[in-house]
């Protein structure tokens, strides 16, 4: 079995494990995103068929929830918290700095596929505000000046890898 088949088999056996297919779209999408990292059109169509719902409804749900992404993310996914606590402690400036250093907009991925940038709403680490989470690792009390340091750390990690 090649990697593609394995991934599909994992998804299918997950969907097949439901006792009813009613109301199982969002959990199936979560699972698919866990497996593939993002939700391609083909996978969305596949899920629509497996659950017996119109493809348009799947697309409607995928585009409604900000947690779902339809394009692959960068290797390092940078999430700048724009919750109120972080906002009043300057996270907007931090986000601007990431945008200008990475030369991408919020929701974008750098050309080399290394970084993608998003703004998120409150990870709940308000004591450390403003916070930036990179692949789930939280960096606290980030200032504009810290941005290049954070990026350099991950870049050098790449270089040595």
């Amino acid at each position: 079995m090649n990697e593609n088949d394995k991934q599909l088999a994992e998804l299918d056996s997950y969907i097949d494990s439901f006792d009813t297919k009613k109301g199982k779209l969002i959990v199936s999408l979560h699972k698919a995103q866990d497996i593939y990292g993002y939700l391609s059109v083909d996978i969305q169509k596949h899920i629509a068929k497996r659950l017996g719902i119109p493809a348009s409804k799947v697309y409607g749900v995928v585009t409604f929830y900000s947690f779902f992404n339809t394009t692959p993310k960068g290797k390092y996914s940078i999430d700048v918290c724009m919750g109120t606590a972080c906002f009043v402690r300057g996270s907007a400036d931090v986000l601007e700095e990431f945008k200008s250093q990475l030369k991408i907009d919020v929701g974008g991925t750098t050309e080399d596929g290394l970084f993608s940038l998003d703004s998120i709403r409150c990870v709940g680490a308000c004591g450390l505000a403003p916070v930036v989470s990179v692949n789930g690792k939280v960096h606290g009390r980030v200032t504009r000046a810290d941005v290049s340091k954070i990026l350099d750390d991950y870049k050098s990690k790449e270089a040595t890898a």
């Binding site: 109120t84 606590a85 601007e96 709403r121 680490a125 916070v131």
Partner: protein, 612 residues
């Protein structure tokens, strides 16, 4: 372990209590905030080093939920001694000095802000002194992944007691307590349960709204991470009282730790027979499943939440019919948020009368607030209703950071409003907050100081609601964007006086006509800031000036040639090369290139750069 009867539960609780009191216990916060600053490593180090010192039989160490004092995290508690800002490297010293030599580590103790003295005992810390922890009773105290820990703290006793009562008596107890929903408008919980109980139908659902979306509010997450069983037990009590057999907890996918702890707790409770068929040998059966959100603030609205549980777009439904009659899968459903449920067990155990003695006339009990922003003590605080803002901010929160002046306190998240410093002495409850144009909401409390521009803050919230509007109804979908556009225009220095009238008029219409709570409250941040800080709006519109110096388009950075010595430091640090000048000659800022980032002001050592 399976608990089949109430007697077995009592016996187990008794033996667990006896065991626990004999030990030295080290508790390390394993909430999201502290985990972000390495508390997992601290725990690991305790494990390794206690073993190394041969202490692993004498001393127990455990992860706990959030202590609430996030500002000082990671937090480690050795019996009653409270260590703050602990790093993994400090673990050895704590073991050597405190455990082995009996001398607490002085440098890691919390220091009182006013006296500067080290405070040893947890109970003497200013942050905790005024608090009254009912909903957070176990947070920071028990291992959230241990059912036994919960049972040792009278866990599932309230369920056992309820099952011996009639469903109506349970509801009466909740009604008598005066408990109101902690997630929004404050609907009386007992009444809500009663309506669901009286709705016809064999199949009913109990839902828990754990889609805590208010940015800057994290009390629900802390409860779920620190004491998941308190919510599970309360849902079972609710299910018994309304005649439901199935529960769903709708939780944000952004809370992986809370999800994990809930899953663990549900699994343990099911294995122990505290969930499932014939609980405590009665006819009552109840099971709970989790439903993961996917990043949509509107799903905190109860009917949107139900659509989301059903796998649909999280768009609100037309109300009435209300969920109590026609909810999840068209079945009667009761929905409360996490904090509401967290109050249920103490009410059942201590009685509704006990709870109703706490708080104000119409708002009973306590409220958890997430204190954040420009405050010295960021964290979770639980205080009786009726406590004043001043007490929360200046006594518990120990004032504003960097000695700045308080400008406003924002409560209620994107649905709430900004409360000015004049209202600090008002006792906080549901009614008083509404009377000053804000609301309780879930309990976010963001402190703002003199550097915060209230127009900019209003724009921030509108940005949020525009982003999170589901798009179903016209006023919210288009109206809120138009409001935001007017604010942007004002912040960019293009505001006209009629824009202020438009903001108000359109804001009122959006409140009056929107389909769900999100739209009906979205203009609140604008309307309340206009109410209390009109002078700031007028300064932006009439004088094209941002008094707080926040709105970049209204700012200009200038170098005073009499003060500039030409050190070149500002030019070197300017990210856009907007500053030019020869060495030892006064520098100049090219306004076209300047992005108003403020780096030059920070770098200048001669106070030669001004902003205005």
């Amino acid at each position: 372990m399976r608990i089949n009867t109430v007697e077995e539960l009592d016996k187990l609780a008794k033996s667990l209590k006896e065991q626990k009191s004999a030990e030295i216990i080290i508790k390390t916060c394993a909430g999201t905030g502290c985990m972000s600053s390495d508390s997992a490593k601290i725990l690991k180090n305790f494990e390794i080093l206690l073993k190394h010192h041969g202490l692993d039989n004498k001393v127990s160490f455990q992860p706990t939920g959030c202590f609430g004092f996030c500002e000082q995290g990671p937090i480690v508690k050795v019996n009653d001694v409270f260590y703050v800002q602990v790093t993994p490297k400090d673990v050895n010293e704590i073991i050597q000095s405190h455990i082995i030599d009996g001398k607490p580590v002085e440098r890691l103790l919390y220091r009182d802000k006013t006296t500067g003295e080290a405070v040893k005992s947890f109970d003497d810390i200013q942050f905790y002194k005024r608090q009254m922890r009912i909903a957070l009773r176990n947070c920071g105290d028990i291992n959230p992944e241990s059912l036994e820990d919960y049972i040792a703290r009278d866990g599932y006793k309230a369920l056992a007691k309820s099952l011996a009562m009639s469903p109506q008596d349970v509801i009466n107890e909740i009604k008598q307590s005066g408990l109101r929903g902690r997630g929004g408008a404050g609907f009386p919980t007992g009444v809500k349960w009663e309506i669901a109980a009286n709705s016809a139908g064999k199949k009913k659902f109990v839902l828990c709204n754990a889609d805590e979306g208010d940015p800057g509010a994290f009390m629900d997450r802390s409860i779920l991470e620190g004491d998941p069983n308190s919510v599970i037990e309360a849902m079972a009590i609710c299910a018994y009282s309304i005649g439901a057999d199935e529960g769903v907890i709708y939780i944000r996918a952004e809370y992986p730790l809370a999800v994990h702890r809930l899953e663990t707790a549900i699994k343990q409770a099911t294995e122990a027979g505290l969930l499932g068929e014939n609980i405590f040998g009665t006819n009552f059966s109840f099971k709970i499943s989790l439903s993961l959100g996917a990043g949509a603030f509107v799903c905190g609205e109860e009917t949107s939440l139900m659509n989301s549980v059903e796998g649909l777009r999280g768009e609100p439904r037309v109300k009435p019919p209300f969920p109590a009659e026609n909810g999840l899968w068209q079945k009667p459903s009761n929905i409360n948020n996490v904090e509401t449920y967290a109050n249920i067990c103490p009410i059942i155990l201590n009685g509704g009368a006990w709870f109703s003695k706490i708080g104000t006339e119409k708002s009973k009990g306590t409220k958890v607030f997430a204190l954040a922003g420009k405050i010295n003590n960021v964290g979770l605080v639980e205080v009786p209703m009726g406590t004043t803002l001043r007490e929360v901010i200046f006594e518990i929160g120990e004032g504003i950071r960097n000695g700045k002046a308080l400008k406003a306190v924002q409560t209620g998240g994107p649905s709430g409003g900004c409360i000015p410093a004049e209202c600090l002495d008002m006792p906080i409850d549901y009614e008083s907050l509404v009377s000053i144009g804000s609301m309780m909401g879930s309990g976010g409390m963001i402190v703002m100081d003199e550097d915060d521009c209230m127009v900019d803050v209003a724009k921030f919230y509108l940005d949020f609601t525009v982003d999170e509007s589901c798009g179903k109804c016209t006023p919210c979908r288009i109206g809120n964007l138009r409001l935001k556009e007017i604010l942007e225009k004002i912040c960019a220095g293009n505001g006209e006086e009629k824009d202020l009238i438009k903001l108000k008029e359109l804001g009122e219409i959006i409140k009056d006509t929107s389909l769900c709570g999100l739209g009906q409250t979205a203009p609140n941040p604008i309307l309340s800031t206009m109410n209390y800080f009109m002078d700031e709006y007028e300064a932006h519109v009439k004088e094209k000036r941002c008094p707080a110096g926040k709105c970049k388009d209204l700012l200009q950075y200038k170098i005073d040639p009499t003060k500039c010595v030409g050190c070149t430091l500002c030019a070197k640090n300017c990210p856009t090369d907007a500053i030019s000048g020869e060495v030892k000659v006064a520098h100049k800022i090219e306004q076209d290139k300047c992005i108003k980032c403020g780096t030059c002001i920070q770098k200048c050592r001669f106070e030669a750069i001004s902003r205005g």
